[in-house]
Symmetry: D3
Subunit: 252 residues, 6 copies
Amino acid sequence: MRLLLVNPNTSAAMTARMEREAAAALAPDAHLTALTAARGLPYIASRAEAQLAGASVLESLAEHQAGYDAAVIGAFGDPGLIAARELFDLPVVGMAEAAMLTACQLGQRFGIVTFSTTLLPWYEDAVTLAGLSGRCTCVRAVSTAFGSVLEVQHELEAEIVALANRAVSEDGIDAVILAGAPLTGLAARVADAVPVPLIDPLAAALGQAQTLVRLGARPARSGRFARPPAKPATGLAPALRRWIERGDGDDA
Amino acid sequence: MRLLLVNPNTSAAMTARMEREAAAALAPDAHLTALTAARGLPYIASRAEAQLAGASVLESLAEHQAGYDAAVIGAFGDPGLIAARELFDLPVVGMAEAAMLTACQLGQRFGIVTFSTTLLPWYEDAVTLAGLSGRCTCVRAVSTAFGSVLEVQHELEAEIVALANRAVSEDGIDAVILAGAPLTGLAARVADAVPVPLIDPLAAALGQAQTLVRLGARPARSGRFARPPAKPATGLAPALRRWIERGDGDDA
Amino acid sequence: MRLLLVNPNTSAAMTARMEREAAAALAPDAHLTALTAARGLPYIASRAEAQLAGASVLESLAEHQAGYDAAVIGAFGDPGLIAARELFDLPVVGMAEAAMLTACQLGQRFGIVTFSTTLLPWYEDAVTLAGLSGRCTCVRAVSTAFGSVLEVQHELEAEIVALANRAVSEDGIDAVILAGAPLTGLAARVADAVPVPLIDPLAAALGQAQTLVRLGARPARSGRFARPPAKPATGLAPALRRWIERGDGDDA
Amino acid sequence: MRLLLVNPNTSAAMTARMEREAAAALAPDAHLTALTAARGLPYIASRAEAQLAGASVLESLAEHQAGYDAAVIGAFGDPGLIAARELFDLPVVGMAEAAMLTACQLGQRFGIVTFSTTLLPWYEDAVTLAGLSGRCTCVRAVSTAFGSVLEVQHELEAEIVALANRAVSEDGIDAVILAGAPLTGLAARVADAVPVPLIDPLAAALGQAQTLVRLGARPARSGRFARPPAKPATGLAPALRRWIERGDGDDA
Amino acid sequence: MRLLLVNPNTSAAMTARMEREAAAALAPDAHLTALTAARGLPYIASRAEAQLAGASVLESLAEHQAGYDAAVIGAFGDPGLIAARELFDLPVVGMAEAAMLTACQLGQRFGIVTFSTTLLPWYEDAVTLAGLSGRCTCVRAVSTAFGSVLEVQHELEAEIVALANRAVSEDGIDAVILAGAPLTGLAARVADAVPVPLIDPLAAALGQAQTLVRLGARPARSGRFARPPAKPATGLAPALRRWIERGDGDDA
Amino acid sequence: MRLLLVNPNTSAAMTARMEREAAAALAPDAHLTALTAARGLPYIASRAEAQLAGASVLESLAEHQAGYDAAVIGAFGDPGLIAARELFDLPVVGMAEAAMLTACQLGQRFGIVTFSTTLLPWYEDAVTLAGLSGRCTCVRAVSTAFGSVLEVQHELEAEIVALANRAVSEDGIDAVILAGAPLTGLAARVADAVPVPLIDPLAAALGQAQTLVRLGARPARSGRFARPPAKPATGLAPALRRWIERGDGDDA
């Protein structure tokens, strides 16, 4: 099966790291291609930035999704997830939603731990969007400054592990999601330092994408993820404009 | 006070109608300016389209908000509402949220009635986003085809009134929101034909905007609507790019 | 438009203060009349007292509401709000509900801060009654004793501001309601001392009342706020007895 | 043990019926006294009427509660329940709340069936007040007119039984509450005609009152049902005024 | 009336204590028989153990329930409660559910205090199962080690009282449930040491059982507690196997 | 990786079918072993039967789990799921929970369709247990009688497809779970006959199990799924008794 990872940030170095860390989560028959956003911000950290990134995700998918079996949106916070599911016919997986659904099977109550307080409102909104507020006991962030978002998982490793342990003992959680694309790979490295399961959102998202592909479900022709009717569009990226204008009737 | 209405659709005729109908909802000291989106779709009707429209709302506000006391996003569904509140310092009001908050004071249970089934998932999401699912008993749409979105409030007037009455009797609601910018003005025209209060979302939004202005609350410097830190951006509309890159520190 | 403010407390000095502070929240065409309760308690602070005050609000409205466009119940906690909406045909606004609905547009999570721990259960019940528990993160009270309820906003100004700031930093709220009629006017005075918007419940209530009047919605003839049928009554205040006994059929 | 039943309606005939039907629900050592409201309405049927009845319940309890082990408020809808629990030191039981808590042990989902559509909003509010909306699947009323509220349980017996059976088959409920003081005694008479348990609210309330008395819990000196501090009062019934003015400190 | 108490633990000494403490909660016409589980664990403290205990409760009831008017499952956590209600025709009461429903009438918010942190997940699940998470503010456990589960209520009396008082002051609860069969009788002994009502789960359960018996409700022939159809069974305890294989049709 | 499927029913024919249908959902490196329950019922269909089956699942896992990477409980309704997660150290997946979590990624609202009304209360409880009531719009069952539970997916294929289509059009769902082990394989066969994605619970469970294995999370040493302390046990199946008595300290 062919999986497409869309990084909605403009950082190619981050894309490369995610691609590298993905290997352990892929079955022998699963192949991953990773894309970096052509426009936007180097690292999304607010709902305003996610609003823009969501539009960019739709542009990327319109241009590149043909021939893939499933797509993964490579940012915790899932920019454009619902819109992408509505617009395209392949399964689309979000790192935040996938991590939370996976966590539900490893704990009755999970927590989310990340590396910057700026991210909190966006990640909290992602919990609400996924309808899992009843399962997510805390969303906590390290408040120590860091130098580079690419190196933050190393720079703040001790602080992140300490915060995860505090969340376990103070909030009574049964599993911890280490959230944010820059933390990809950290969960595996520090698994022994926290007494409950740690969830790596990229690994969870790739697992969910493979599950959806093997399930073989047909695309929705009805309901809330059915593709909207064709409609004229102005000022959009060319591939996306064509996709929206073509609509349901003439996919071929 | 000066209010700015941002129509996220590309239809100038719709903007003109909204501007005309706004008069009755404005106090003597309130003045309204209305803008039409430069890019996007003539009429937003899905979550994918709203994702794109939300980005366009941010572009419009970055370019035009200076000098206004409050802004209203002129589409039921509130594209870009949370992002705009985060990014800008003036109060931003959404037609869906404002209509629902107003309805809460006229009924314990309200319903939403609109003119096209295509709109249902988007409007249902707006109820969830506003956290008012417990008060909103139904979201219903007329299923009859219509010719022109500009004339739909006349073409389907009888069907919409009939559906509002059915919602009252079958779903036990105490107030009805007539949803969708194309229905602006209809509530006043058919108020006597339905035995519970009808809410016009534009009138509600303008009322809420005036309430927020007279309240005189300071912009948030903390919390979930504080402005995100400055950050480099690529490929965005110029005014929005400048706004995001300038950030908190140097507004002047 | 003509607005009626019913103070359910027996303190005329409090009524005078509220009338004075109301000015800033009124449009040029809005005129306010304020009434003081003839019987009851000088300052309501419990659910038992609110039960009695609610009955007194109905008595006041039955006697005085004729000729007004909307009424505001002048106590945070909204005694008699639902009953008044059911019984009378003009829009009735509660200070607590109005403050909370207004706060929803300035923050995703708001908190309520007040001047006496005695008030907490009553205010907590008001949050539940409004169906906004999911948005209200905390209801907190200063525990310092004070001399006079009329002067409490000055006596405890420093403590209230400090508590509002603690609520912002500890509970992660985006807006603060300064609750209780004796705090009317405080929000405007200390706005710069707290980094999130402060909501004055009286200003919010007057804004909501004006919104409802300009909306021009018809009174409910059906649903949960339709007027109950006429019925004989014993031992009630004369105007209220007549209003209940006259019922729906013969309003004229 | 001595139990006090306060009928908040002014109908002595209804009080007499409730007293008569109570016998089967009392243990050999439980003795019941029943009071009729001195002022108010012959039969409460709206939230406005319940607001007034709640005040009257407080007056009755202030005058008569001394020497009793527990009190029952004799109207489904529980007027004044929270206020009474706050103000007085003996356990106070409401017929609606007691019926619902009892129903929770006979079904995972219960329904409420009553004899008049006018009652629906009030009873629906009682479900919300009890925090049991998640367990209560339906509140339904017979819509047939009847002659006398005292005889309605006989006049509409067939319609009520038919509606209870419809609620079982259509709404999937596991138990039915036959609600409204005028239906007292009906559940026992028609138990065989409905395939799920029927709950008589008066019997449930008397059972709960006896449970609370045998439990022997001390009155709250803290928390949301602790008695409010003493306070001057104007224009209240004498016994209630004395009770409120005496306050916590000098009960003796 | 005849009540059956099924202790799902294998400790006969615990059964004896519960039987002794039950006296104060029984009306003059109520008689109690207490059984000890033949297999299982001396003291259940986890969901895994409760899964096994629930099966054992069904075995005990199948063998002994004939001739009783109601049964009480004698462990906080209510192992087998839903299954027993489905399988048998007499009312079945759980100590956790009964304590919580009783607490709802003595406080708007209650807390649960117990003697071992090991019990927390099981008791928290019991709150969820009862659908009362909205009313239960905290579930707290003493963390001090103790010598004997039979003597723990004496060994840790001071710690339990201190924790109950902390729950009152820190969590704002209005009533405290002293949870766990080994604490039976403690509430009565320390009632004066905590400023809110204390609930003894066994007393509450016996009160609820008597309420259900006096209510005289018929067993469900429909709904979620109707007895399942007969079915062949392998490897079950003989009485239970016979009960399951006999099914609905031939009870006689 | 090695996966263990525990069928809690005593039907070896059902186990064989599940094993056969599992192939399509397994990655090239995943190997499945399937077990049939030694005692219990040929087909579980009630909460009472699930209570007993859950105990049997614990017995099977205690005896057989060594050497496996994850286990799947092979009955929709997930008997013993929470208990098994608590007791054992490998990931344990339930068919109902896994199907629902998977459905959340294919629809905002899903429905559950099954072949017998007897199953409804059990499946409804499974939705509640998974905390997904907000996402599950309906649980519906065909009411037509069938001859053999092994053949029911063929006997009632037309009725099940028709009911799934009715659920889509009447309840507005976006995805349908075909629930119950006897329907394993049906989703793939009728995927084209329903306009929204169909979810096969066994395929979903196997996908989730593989996701959890590749995630490589450590077993919980803390939290709600940490293994309970060792404890003496009486009358349990030998392997389970040994597992419980050995406890945490001496796994080796």
